[in-house]
């Protein structure tokens, strides 16, 4: 008689906890995911900030290169997306700070805020760019 393995099936795939794709997307969930995505985007965007600062500190030639990049179409597109990421993440962060005080956690209220969140982010982003070109 063959020996029965004590840990039958131990090497099989274990069940995992349900993940994002199993749920129907709802506004609060989508904004939460976007908060993380914008955070990660801002993380890698610091490379651009570092590039801009170090180029400016290095002299006119490198400053002209970095200025050329940021005033190019691609450069402006990246900066616009970066502005949006910053605004979205900032509004999400302010929401978190308010929720830390246990305020505004009602089901309908959080959904209403989550729907307003992307709209407010876009408005702020566009506003910043309008001001940016107006004061130029």
């Amino acid at each position: 008689m063959s020996e029965t393995p004590i840990q039958a099936g131990a090497t099989k795939e274990r069940p995992l906890s349900p993940h994002l794709m199993i749920y129907k997307p709802i506004p609060t969930m989508v904004m939460s995911i976007l908060h993380r995505i914008t955070g990660a985007a801002l993380y890698f965007g610091t490379i651009l900030v570092a590039w801009w600062l170090i180029a400016t500190a290095s002299g006119q030639a490198s400053f002209e290169t970095v200025s050329w990049f940021f005033s190019s179409f691609i450069g402006r597109l990246i900066l616009f997306a970066y502005t949006f990421a910053l605004m979205h993440h900032m509004l999400g962060g302010i929401k978190h700070l308010v929720q830390d005080t246990s305020a505004g956690l009602g089901k309908d209220f959080t959904t209403k805020m989550a729907k307003l969140h992307p709209v407010a982010s876009v408005i702020l982003t566009v506003l910043i760019w309008i001001v940016g070109y107006a004061v130029r």
């Binding site: 955070g39 993380y43 610091t46 490379i47 600062l53 400016t56 500190a57 005033s71 940016g132 130029r136």
Partner: protein
């Protein structure tokens, strides 16, 4: 009230540091830097706006003002510490084992490298080039 099944010592309960040994420190610093980042990032946005389309001389003049240097150092300090904490949570959530550890180390190194680069540039400009 001590639970009969709680095997922790009274000292451990009082310290409240939990199994990770650092209590709410990560959470607190995330929030602290978040609060700091609101005015700091608004200042940073204003800086970028006011330097839009401005030439080399004027950009250097603006960035070498002591007030701007000091605030920019704080922008970099609070901003990069905040993002380091945030990325740490993302890594801990999704990547496990040796790869997770490697990424956590890379995260710390990246944060330090970026802040060193930015701080050096800010100070170089601040001290007049």
């Amino acid at each position: 009230m001590a639970n009969q099944n709680d095997m922790r010592t009274p000292l451990s309960r009082v310290r409240g540091l939990g199994s990770a040994k650092d209590g709410t420190e990560h959470f607190w610093r995330q929030r602290l830097t978040a609060i700091a980042n609101i005015p700091l990032m608004l200042f940073f946005i204003w800086t970028i706006i006011s330097l839009n389309g401005v030439g080399y001389e004027q950009t250097v003049a603006y960035l070498s003002h002591p007030f701007v240097s000091i605030i920019m150092l704080m922008v970099v300090g609070a901003g990069i510490y905040h993002m380091k904490l945030g990325m740490q949570v993302i890594i801990e959530d999704y990547v496990h084992g040796a790869m997770g550890k490697a990424l956590l180390i890379a995260n710390s190194f990246f944060a330090i490298a970026i802040s060193a680069t930015c701080s050096f540039a800010i100070l170089k400009l601040g001290f007049g080039g």
